[in-house]
C-alpha cells in the first residue's frame, strides 16, 4: 500500500494521542480543537481505506490475506471516531484519556497494516 500514507496516519495518530494525553494531564476534557484534530486523523484514515480498496481492485494483494487486510482497514478508520464519540459524553479528563488510547490503538493498527500488506 502507500507507505507514506500509513506513516502519516501513524504519526498524526501519535501526535493526537500526545495532545489528548496532555489535556488529560491538565485535567481537561476534549475541546473543539481536539475534535478538529480527530477529524484530520480520521480523514487520513479514510483516505487510507479508499487507497487500500483501490489497490485491491487494481489487482494488488496483501501478503497476509485480503479479509484480514480489509478488517484492519475498517478498524483503523473506525478507531478514532469511536473514541471521539465516547469522549463526547464523558466531559472529564477521562474523555481525553479515551481519545488518547484510541489514537494509540490506531497507531498500532497502522503497524499491523504495514505488516499485513508486506513489501
Amino acid at each position: 500500500m502507500l507507505v507514506a500514507l500509513t506513516v502519516a496516519v501513524a504519526v498524526t495518530a501519535l501526535a493526537l494521542a500526545a495532545w489528548c494525553g496532555f489535556a488529560a494531564y491538565r485535567d481537561q476534557p476534549t475541546k473543539d480543537w481536539h475534535f478538529i484534530g480527530m477529524a484530520v486523523v480520521s480523514v487520513l484514515a479514510l483516505a487510507q481505506l479508499v487507497v487500500g480498496i483501490v489497490r485491491l481492485a487494481g489487482g494488488d494483494r496483501p501478503e497476509q490475506g485480503m479479509t484480514i487486510f480489509i478488517a484492519y482497514l475498517i478498524g483503523a478508520f473506525a478507531a478514532v471516531p469511536a473514541a471521539g464519540f465516547l469522549s463526547l459524553t464523558e466531559r472529564t479528563r477521562w474523555g481525553s484519556v479515551t481519545v488518547a488510547a484510541g489514537a494509540v490503538v490506531l497507531a498500532v493498527l497502522e503497524v499491523r497494516l504495514y505488516d499485513i500488506w508486506g513489501s
Binding site: 478488517a71 469511536a82 473514541a83 466531559r91 477521562w94 488510547a101 490503538v105
Partner: protein, 147 residues
C-alpha cells in the same frame, strides 16, 4: 489513580446504591478498551473460522470465548449498577484466569496451538493488554462500589 480522579462525577449520594454508573470517569477508558478487544477477538475468531476452521479449532474456539467474555464485560460496564458490577467482576476474574491458563498452555505445549489466539503467550501479540486489562478492570470495579 488518586482519589481526586473521580471529582467530576457527582457520586456523593449513598442512597442510590443499586444504580451507580460503571462506564463513566476512568470506567470510560475501560469501556473503550473492552470494546476494542471485543471487536478484535470477535473478528479474529470469525475470520479464522470462516477461512480454515480445521487448522486450529481449539485456538479459534478460545478466541470466540474470549470475544464473548469481552463483550459481556463491555455490556456490564455500560449498564452499571450492583448486579452488573458483580457480573463484570466474575467475568474479569474468568478473563484473567483464561489469559493465565491459555498463556501458560501455549508456552508449555505450542503444538496444541498451530495458530495464535488473543490470549496466546499472555497476550504478547496485543502488547500484553489482555493481562493488564482484567487487573485494571477488577481494581476499578472494586473502587466503584465504594465510590
Amino acid at each position: 489513580m488518586t482519589d481526586t480522579d473521580r471529582s467530576g462525577a457527582p457520586s456523593s449520594a449513598p442512597a442510590q446504591k443499586q444504580q451507580f454508573e460503571l462506564g463513566t470517569g476512568p470506567g470510560r477508558v475501560l469501556v473503550w478498551f473492552y470494546g476494542v478487544f471485543t471487536v478484535a477477538a470477535a473478528s479474529r475468531s470469525v475470520v479464522q473460522m470462516i477461512v480454515d476452521f480445521g487448522r486450529a479449532p481449539l485456538a479459534y474456539v478460545l478466541s470466540a470465548v474470549a470475544a464473548v467474555v469481552y463483550g459481556f464485560i463491555t455490556y456490564s460496564l455500560v449498564r452499571g449498577g450492583e448486579k452488573a458490577r458483580r457480573a463484570a467482576l466474575v467475568c474479569c476474574a474468568a478473563e484473567l484466569a483464561g489469559v493465565l491458563v491459555v498463556g501458560t498452555w501455549t508456552l508449555v505445549s505450542p503444538s496444541a496451538f498451530p495458530d495464535a489466539t488473543v490470549w496466546s503467550d499472555f497476550g504478547m501479540g496485543y502488547l500484553f493488554i489482555p493481562v493488564i486489562l482484567p487487573v485494571t478492570g477488577m481494581i476499578w470495579l472494586r473502587r466503584a462500589r465504594r465510590a
